[in-house]
């Protein structure tokens, strides 16, 4: 039976796509049926994914299955489509289908009275289909198609409440920023096709080691990396992710925490054989990731919107993952991706529960004391926050510890210190959020009520996952994760007790500091705010990056427009005027040839005769001479 599942793996992305088509075409007037179709398809895909996982993970080191079919056959161009089922894609299938299913069930409660309920589920299905297609693609071209599809689904879902200007603008911003990254990505893909003649991952992995001209791979690798920079919101293409919070919270949980933004990290893992052979590219990836992690964490310290805090947290953790990839710890990066998917979506869904209960309020200072009325939400949220902060024995601890271990062991001490500091900041701002919103003095929480079961059950399931998933790569299970997800060029350092203990202590220190400032109020945060006013303003305004981009854009666009205007007025118009003036002038001059005076005509004839005489004489003379 399992062979049947393997052979029909293409059903996994196809079922949600059929759901999308069916809902859009036929059932968009019946919200209940639409939701049912969507959830059923994703649940079935989840079952198929578990079947595939069972087969792939049954052999030590993981089995690999690849199916290819020729899609386009013109002389000079052959394009194949195919599926690749190896441990990496099996893992991603599990993560995506499980979280997508939970989010769709949660949305039954969250989006209950929304007029766009049916189209919401249509888009959710389309997104699931695109993401699943992306993770089982076996070549860059096919992956790029699904990459773009995922981007357009993000656009649809961010701008879902299209009546709002902020949502519309955020959707466009997301798409355009992604496009910038995708442009570089496409250039990289084209280079690969030109240099190697194939885009198939296995084919490229074979052709790459023997490739002579290593220098040209540097720009190719960096170009390929711009795709993940856009999709996974690395600096400087990070600007779309905080604004993407305009979309419904379940969308933020699914797309902008767990799956779509992880696609960039997945690509780096998939193409690890390319990146690992170009040390310069690895350096770029590591430092871009590390910088993004620090950058985002500092901004998260002062944000007041609950979703924005979580968005910057996502940015920061994505930076961690990229940093891990860049220093060679591919296993650690993928492991963190997995654990992050679960606890981050848990956090977002919890935030959604809070927002739903507070009737749309998102400012943490307007919440308070929620733990009395919303116990399930509160405690699952705390579990998620503990996991994110890296407190043992939760999943986040194991994955973050792997990354720090990798940084330390491979000699990147600077990145290690950076990572440790970011861990401290992460713990701090997460518990700032918890102490203010859930345990604060503000009595706004009295009005809240716990969310319905359809929303709290996914929270509980995700909390359990946040606790348990980490153990697959722990010493207790002998790092079994690492035996499947690894690459010969990657590093898998041995555990170090010192690193483990120090990272736990750093996280506890962060939590303690947050408790001091926001719960016990030993240091008044408002006093600190006014003392460090400049830094506070800088961080609150996200380092003014958006304003800088807008300025650059407007200079480019308006400057260009002014240049074009000048060219139009002076040069193009000048040509037209020139033509007119020339015509006029020539007319003015030539009018004398038709003045009606016979003697003028006679004169012209005489000139002609003169010319003839001269020509004849010259001809005759040259004949003689």
């Amino acid at each position: 039976m399992y062979d049947l599942i393997i052979v029909n793996a293409w059903l996994i992305p196809l079922l949600p796509f059929v759901a999308f088509a069916v809902i859009s075409l036929f059932f968009h007037r019946w919200p209940g049926i639409s939701a049912g179709i969507s959830i059923f398809s994703i649940a079935f895909s989840f079952l198929l994914a578990t079947g595939i996982a069972r087969v792939v993970f049954s052999q030590p080191g993981g089995a690999v299955y690849e199916f290819t079919t020729r899609w386009l056959d013109i002389s000079g161009l052959q394009v194949d489509m195919g599926l690749l089922l190896d441990p990496l894609s099996a893992l991603m299938l599990l993560v995506v289908t499980s979280i997508a299913a939970l989010v769709q069930i949660y949305s039954l409660g969250y989006m209950k009275d929304d007029p766009g309920f049916a189209s919401y589920y249509a888009y959710q299905s389309l997104f699931a289909a695109s993401m699943l297609g992306l993770v089982i693609a076996n070549n860059f071209g096919q992956m790029f198609v699904f990459w773009e599809l995922v981007g357009i689904c993000s656009y649809f879902l961010i701008g879902f409440w299209f009546g709002r200007d902020s949502a519309k603008n955020a959707a466009i911003k997301a798409f355009v920023t992604n496009r910038v990254g995708d442009f570089g990505f496409l250039l990289g893909i084209l280079f690969l096709q030109i240099l190697f003649g194939t885009l198939n991952f296995a084919g490229l992995a074979e052709a790459l080691p023997g490739y002579a001209n290593a220098a040209i791979l540097i720009p190719v690798a960096i170009l390929l990396f711009t795709g993940p920079m856009g999709k996974s919101a690395m600096f400087p293409l990070h600007v779309w992710l905080p604004d993407a919070m305009e979309g419904p919270t379940p969308v933020s949980a699914l797309i902008h925490a767990a799956t779509m933004v992880a696609a960039g990290v997945y690509l780096v893992a998939r193409a690890f054989f390319i990146f690992s052979s170009v040390p310069e590219a690895m350096t770029v990836i590591a430092f871009v990731g590390g910088f993004t992690a620090l950058f985002a964490a500092t901004i998260a310290l002062v944000q007041n919107d609950i979703k924005r805090i979580l968005a910057y947290s996502t940015l920061s953790q994505l930076g961690y993952m990229m940093m891990a990839m860049g220093i060679g710890a591919m296993t650690a990066g993928m492991f963190h991706l997995t654990t992050h998917a679960f606890f981050k979506s848990l956090l977002f869904l919890g935030a959604g529960s809070v927002i739903h209960a507070m009737a749309g309020e998102q400012d943490i200072w307007k919440m308070g004391n929620l733990h009395k009325k919303m116990p399930v939400t509160t405690w699952t949220f705390i579990i998620g926050a503990l996991a994110l902060s890296g407190i043992p024995p939760l999943s986040g601890f194991w994955s973050k510890d792997e990354i720090l271990l990798g940084a330390f062991a491979s000699g990147h001490y600077g990145l290690y210190i950076l990572g440790a500091f970011v861990a401290f900041l992460t713990a701090f701002y997460m518990f700032r959020l918890i102490f203010v919103a859930f345990f604060g003095k503000n009595q706004a929480g009295e009005k809240a009520h716990e969310s319905p079961g359809v929303m709290t059950v996914p929270l509980i399931i995700l909390a359990a996952a946040a606790v348990l998933v980490g153990f697959v790569n722990s010493p207790f299970m002998h790092h079994i994760f690492g035996t499947f997800i690894s690459h010969p060029a990657g590093i898998q350092p041995h555990s170090s007790n010192m690193i483990m203990v120090s990272s736990a202590l750093i996280a506890l220190a962060g939590i303690a500091m947050a408790w001091l400032i926001y719960q016990k109020e030993a240091i008044n945060h408002l006093v600190m705010r006014s003392k460090f006013k400049n830094i506070y303003e800088l961080l609150l305004n996200k380092y003014y990056i958006d304003e800088i981009y807008e300025r650059m854009g407007s200079i480019l666009v308006y400057g260009g427009a002014r240049v074009m205007y000048w060219i139009d007025i002076h040069i193009v118009n000048g040509f037209v005027d020139l033509t007119a003036r020339l015509t006029g002038k020539s007319g003015d001059t030539l009018k004398y040839t038709e003045d009606g005076q016979v003697q003028s005509y006679a004169m012209y004839m005489a000139v002609g005769v003169l010319i003839l005489i001269v020509l004849a004489t010259m001809a005759a003379v040259s004949v003689i001479v």
Binding site: E594, D595, G596, Q597, V598, Q599, Y601, A602, A606
Partner: protein, 102 residues
């Protein structure tokens, strides 16, 4: 000493003088007179060439006779035209006859 080139030269000089008259006179009849001068110059060329080069074939003189015939017809008709135009416009100034431009 005087040979064919001198006669041709004489013809050229007369032709040029006639040309100048055609291009610069205001009176239409004066222009016609200058045209006659040019025709006569051409005649000199024909006859001189005939006489000096192949005098047993009288083609040059024949041609000169025909030129005279045509010149006579032309001046008759031309003067008639000028008189007709004069009846309409009361002027023989060539710069007044400018209807040829439409």
């Amino acid at each position: 000493m005087i040979g064919l080139p001198h006669y041709i030269l004489l013809g050229s000089v007369l032709f040029s003088i006639g040309l100048f008259g055609v291009l610069s006179r205001r009176n239409a009849v004066a222009v016609l007179m200058s045209v006659e001068l040019m025709l006569n110059a051409v005649n000199i060329n024909f006859v001189a060439a005939n006489k000096f080069i192949a005098s047993d074939a009288a083609v040059g003189q024949l041609l000169a006779i025909f030129v005279i015939v045509v010149a006579a017809c032309e001046i008759a008709v031309g003067l008639a035209l000028i008189i007709a135009v004069y009846r309409q416009r009361r002027s023989v100034d060539l710069s007044d006859f400018n209807l040829l431009k439409w």
